[in-house]
């Protein structure tokens, strides 16, 4: 399925199940996402993690709502299953979508301006450098006997300075290689957006609406 439509689909459904309280639809969504993940051969360990973590948080939330609130059993079931809907749908999306392919699709299919698409990609490729920079800053401070925590302004200050440097350099490098903001571009790889994608998208949304509004518990 087309990545942009896939993203739109899971976001719309996640938004909708947050407002409508129908636990049967939640269960159906969980089963469908689980099947989709199994078909796509998601590793068992990842699947286990995707089950244990929400199990803990959903149980803790329900327990808390029971102790400190006056929610009905129906509402508690809705909340409990809702957590799993978020996690499983999100798992299906992130484990079957490559960030690069998604960015390309957003640029080509969803008409995201190319300066955003390539700006994001340029920065995302710096990820290992950013992680390394954080440890460098901390190590440098340690050498002077200074421990930097999550709440130390100095840590952020130094990393932001590095970020400003890198973004200047990257932007200059892109411009010097002929990148012009807003100029028409050609694409070496095109992300297909075919009728089947629209049918899957529309069909899933209609099915979700039917499930949510025909009065299921």
């Amino acid at each position: 399925m087309n990545p942009s439509l896939k993203l739109a689909l899971i976001t719309l459904i996640a938004l909708e199940v947050s407002f409508v309280q129908v636990w049967t639809v939640n269960v159906v969504l969980i089963v469908v996402s689980l099947l989709l993940m199994l078909i796509n051969r998601v590793p068992w360990r990842r699947l286990l993690l995707l089950t244990i973590v929400p199990l803990f948080f959903a149980s803790a939330l329900v327990w808390s709502l029971m102790l400190r609130g006056d929610a009905s059993t129906h509402f508690l079931i809705v909340i409990f299953t809702r957590m799993f809907v978020y996690v499983y749908m999100g798992g299906w999306f992130t484990l079957t979508t490559k960030p690069l392919w998604l960015t390309r699709s957003l640029e080509q299919n969803a008409k995201l301006p190319s300066k955003f698409a390539y700006g994001f990609l340029a920065a995302f490729n710096l990820m290992p450098k950013i992680q390394a920079e954080v440890s460098t800053v901390r190590a440098a401070a340690l050498m002077r006997g200074e421990v930097l925590h999550v709440w130390s302004p100095r840590l952020y200050f130094k990393v932001i300075l590095a970020a400003m440097n890198w973004s200047d350099q990257l932007a200059a490098a892109m411009t010097s290689h002929g990148f012009v903001e807003g100029a028409p571009r050609t694409h070496s790889l095109t992300v297909p957006l075919v009728a089947r994608d629209w049918w899957l998208f529309g069909g899933s949304l209609v099915l979700a609406q039917v499930g949510l509004f025909i009065g299921l518990p």
Binding site: S18, L65, G69, A123, W151, Y156
Partner: protein, 184 residues
């Protein structure tokens, strides 16, 4: 009004990735805190205590890149990074990201992107807390809590957002101003 250029886009993304790394680093702290509080039915309190760190990308991006939309974009990208790094909450992370970012953006909107001081930060803290709390009333069923507990959650969240999104952001901003990379 300034417009987005490639340099600003790269900068906001790097800041978001950096914050994403921080979010990821405090993940275990959150889990341990939540586990410790869970038996007493206080698990949401773990969320409230640490929320300030999660919403920091918004005000930080808004202060460093003074362009409309910076706070929203910074927080949204932070959420995207968290999602692809192995955060498990999926689409709801993205929705929360947009709402948290927009919450702090409102603070900047109210001051017309002209003032970058305590007043804007206080506004931003307040709007972030209100917007994200309204979302949790729906998403996490907070609406079902008894009123005193709900008020406690709200106050703890306000304090956490103020400490991280307000005080810490201001201190970082002060350092950047002293280094002459940002105007006061």
């Amino acid at each position: 009004m300034k417009r987005w250029h490639i340099r600003d886009i790269i900068l906001v993304t790097i800041i978001a990735i950096f914050m994403g790394v921080i979010f990821w680093a405090i993940g275990p702290v959150y889990t341990i805190l939540a586990a410790a509080l869970a038996p007493f039915g206080l698990q949401p309190l773990a969320n409230e205590l640490l929320l300030g760190i999660w919403v920091m990308a918004g005000p930080l991006a808004g202060f460093v890149i003074r362009i409309p939309g910076a706070a929203t974009l910074g927080e949204l990208l932070g959420a995207v990074v968290e999602m692809f790094l192995g955060g498990i909450w999926g689409a709801s992370t993205l929705i929360s990201g947009v709402l948290q970012g927009f919450g702090s953006e409102l603070g900047f909107i109210f001051t017309g992107y002209k003032r970058y001081g305590w007043f804007t930060l206080a506004m931003s803290t307040l709007t972030t807390t209100i917007v994200t709390f309204a979302w949790d009333l729906i998403r996490n069923g907070y609406a079902a809590y008894h009123l005193p507990f709900l008020l406690l959650l709200f106050c703890v969240r306000l304090l956490s957002v103020f400490v991280f999104g307000g005080v810490l952001t201001k201190l970082i901003n002060n350092l950047l101003v002293r280094a002459h990379v940002l105007k006061d």
